[in-house]
Amino acid sequence: MKASPFAYFAPDTLQEALDLLGSLDNAKILAGGQSLMAMLNLRYAMPDQLVDINGISDLAGITEQGGRLSIGAMTRQRVLERDSLLFQKAPIFREALLQVGHIQTRNRGTIGGSLCHLDPAAELPALAMLYDATLIARSAKGERALPMAEFPAFYMTPALEPDEILTRIDFDAWPQDSHFAFVEFSRRHGDFAIVAAGCLFSLSPSGTIERAAIVLGGVGAAPMRLTEAENSLIGQVPGRAAFEAAARAAQDIEAMEDSVYSAQYRCHLSEVMTRRALTKAWDRHQERAA
């Protein structure tokens, strides 16, 4: 199928883009296009106007200041995957990104596009949730900061106004020696996960877990943090017992179901994937140490 007709605008500056969004009806923002283009071609999305923000160069890039990372919304997934600063400060990004789609889609797809598309199983929203990222949106009226926890409004719908553009994602890196892993259960390589789990934890000088974050993708309408499981890890010695206890907490979440996979199965996978993420993170450390 071919896309239905639309008028096309390719602003060079954010200001121009914001002006356009403020004035056009039934407009859509075209970021990397790796979801939207398919929806256009299938006529699932039929905007009258398309505002292409690929030409706005200052929307892309990765910077760090005082341990706080800032990623431009139009930074391509493939750039994130290979960026050495990001790898150094938040290596979980590479691990997760290698499971995002395929080379061809990562070459075009952007972090902002993925966040705004907000597929429940997508990796980048899960990472934003894991890091408690702050999302910066701009409109002609000004700028606002949304915590990731408040970013999902409904299923696959971000809490952005029609005239707003997501411009960047900010978050604090975890200490250098934190442990991390991102694991997925999917049918095929590169498919959206049925359940994905990401975790971060760091240890106190005495060797117990002092801080932990766990996120699940594919389970609810938006990625969810496992606060209870995180809390259960605090003060524990990393290892099987602690991980299993934390994972058990993941079982009790409320999971969605679709035409193929039941809520019950998803709950079970949540437990398994949580445990595997924690275990992988810790095993990696043990291997390095050995």
Binding site: M1, K2, A3, S4, P5, A38, L42, R43, F185, R187, R188, H189, G190, D191, S259, V260, Y261, S262, Y265, H268, L269, V272
Partner: protein
Amino acid sequence: MDPRFIGQSVRRQEDDSLLRGTGKFVDDLDPHGLTHAAFLRSPVAHGRIRSIDTSFAAQVPGVIAVLTLADLRPVLTSDRLPVQFKSDGLPPNIGPYILAKEEVVYVGETVALVIAESRAIAEDAVALIDLDIEELDPVTGCQQAVQPGAPKAALDRSNNIYAQFDMGYGDVDQTFADAAHRVSLALVQHRGGAHPIEGRGVLAHPDPMSGQMTVWSSTQQAHEARGFLIELLGLDETLLRVRTPEVGGGFGAKYLLYPEEVSVTAASLLLGRPIKWIEDRREHFLAAIQERDQFWDVEAACDASGKLVGIRGTMIHDGGAYVPQGVNLAYNAATAVPGPYDLPNYKLSVQAVATNKVPTIPVRGAGYPEGTFVMERVLDALADAAGLDRIEIRRRNLIPVSAMPFSTPLKSRSGSGITYDSGDFHAMYEQALKEIDLDGFADRKAKAAQAGLLRGIGVACGIKGTGRGPYESATVRIGKSGKVTVFTGAMPMGQGLKTALSQITAESLGVDPGDITVVCGDTNTISLGLGGFASRQTVVAGSSVSVAAKAVRDQALHIAAGLFEADVGDIELVDGMARVKGTEIQTSLKELAKIAGGSPGYSLPTGVTPGLEATEYFMPTGLTYGMGVHAVELEVDAETGAVTLQRYVVVNDCGRAINPKIVVGQIHGGVVHAIGNALFEFMGYDEQAQPTTTTLADYLMPTAPEIPRIDVHLAEYPSPLNPLGVKGVGEAGCLPTAGAIVSAIENALGAKNNMIQRIPVMPQDLFQFIQQGKQSSAA
């Protein structure tokens, strides 16, 4: 003399242009004045059309015409397509409409056609056609179809049954009574779609100079398509030519003339413009044939030693909303059950029924995978019941080489007997076990267990009837240019058929295969042809080519012998020359062709007949059967139900391999298609028979990371049924795959009693089985 070209993995002559991107597929054709078609398709599975208002659509700038059935009627001889295979005893009103008339019977059925300056505009206009439909209750599944009080899939039929027949032999009921072990199984088999990466496509191109309509189609059957098109359009062979450009895979979906091809050609006749329609992927999901569902309820029995004594049961086959081709698919599945095993008694009652889903006809494998799966499940179940090893029970039931050729009491759908013509099944079976290193399996299993994974092994066998007749055509010609050309009604869709036929020709004519042009899929170049189905082309067309090439060789030798005043036996054909053996005396094939072409008013040399050319229609006396053994090792993640294939061995009988590399490639493709059927590919429908998997993101075809290395070993047991000794392999890889995989999964889980009765095996189902198993062993 040892063959020079046959049996060699010569470079494919198809490759060069495909690798440069210059090969032309149907959507690459762009004649002057081209227009584009898009279809309005039924949005509901069953409904009565109240009205179709095309007036808004017709006003869209760039739209040339909006056509309904009534508009096409002036150039049609019928509103409906015929049942395209000879099928006796089928009820009336089962052929698809060219465009819907009063009723729609599946989501995706063609309702109206827009012709426009671009495809995008045509689609814009389709969206503006106002279709008013009264929704009717759909038949959503084939089990429901035969329930009392079920809705009818189409209002003009008396019930939902297309065909019912019994198949079998022996006295099953008697033998069951005193059999040592009995099992019963309820198997649900789903085989989704064909999904060649190139969808269907057609370009109807009227030529005002010749008055001839050329229909370019991405089809597996140029001549069959022409035959039905001329019938439906009231034309004759001089007025309509079907040609095929490169065809990007078929797998069964393109062995059919569809409503789209007819309506586009009809529209082109009406409008006098070239019109192209290219199927998009969504349309392939909605409107290209599938193979889909069969429900089998069978009982089986064996004696104390594990030898089969009988199988009996029923099968319901989902035929979909129309019967475009016949009920051959259900028939094949039923005949495939005995497979390479000695089954003394067999009785199956089959019903092919209507549902409000897209029609089903054979996809690669054509029912054989389903029959094979049933037998393999039966053997696993009987082994478990008899306390026998699953690998051993197969050994005990395979037909021994001493019984070859082996006639089963069944008849193939053409009415001829089923006789396995050659092969040592036991030898192939043992080879597969050796290649997969059965002896080392225990170690590998133990190692996997350390990593928390359950490793299993499964072995399964299948046998495919290949090389269906009644004939295939071939003309071999050496023109006055000296060029060797082969014309055939056989139809390549990616197999490398041209290369194989060139090798066969080269063998007789002593020219390089790469210098031989093979022309396929052009109804103007040869009058008859049946095309690509049933793993037949190298067998049947190859044989025709072989016989024709030998005849041309004889002519060439004869002329050369006359020319050189030598014995025919002293002439050899090498490198495009006819030469007196051991001398420098020679002339080119070009010169010989000129001699045979004659000169106006002069006699041909004595004994020389006109032209260096021969035509042959090889008619096989029966199908030739190639056995295949698949052995698979896999790992199951008991926590998730995920299955990872680790090792895959195939031993397959291909008769004589013309081009081993091509043969192995065919088997790779077949295996992976069937891995899709076993583990991934599911075509979903909701309670209203609305398809729910209409993108490749929802319908999961296997990709490279899911596929293990496939270790193929060719067993070459020449067929006595054709001059080349070949057997077909196009579908062979599909047969035992699901049986081997499912058996291996159960082996991994240590499960008995045929826990898995449904394919594709979904991780969620498997996980549930594992949980149930845990519970029952705990209890």
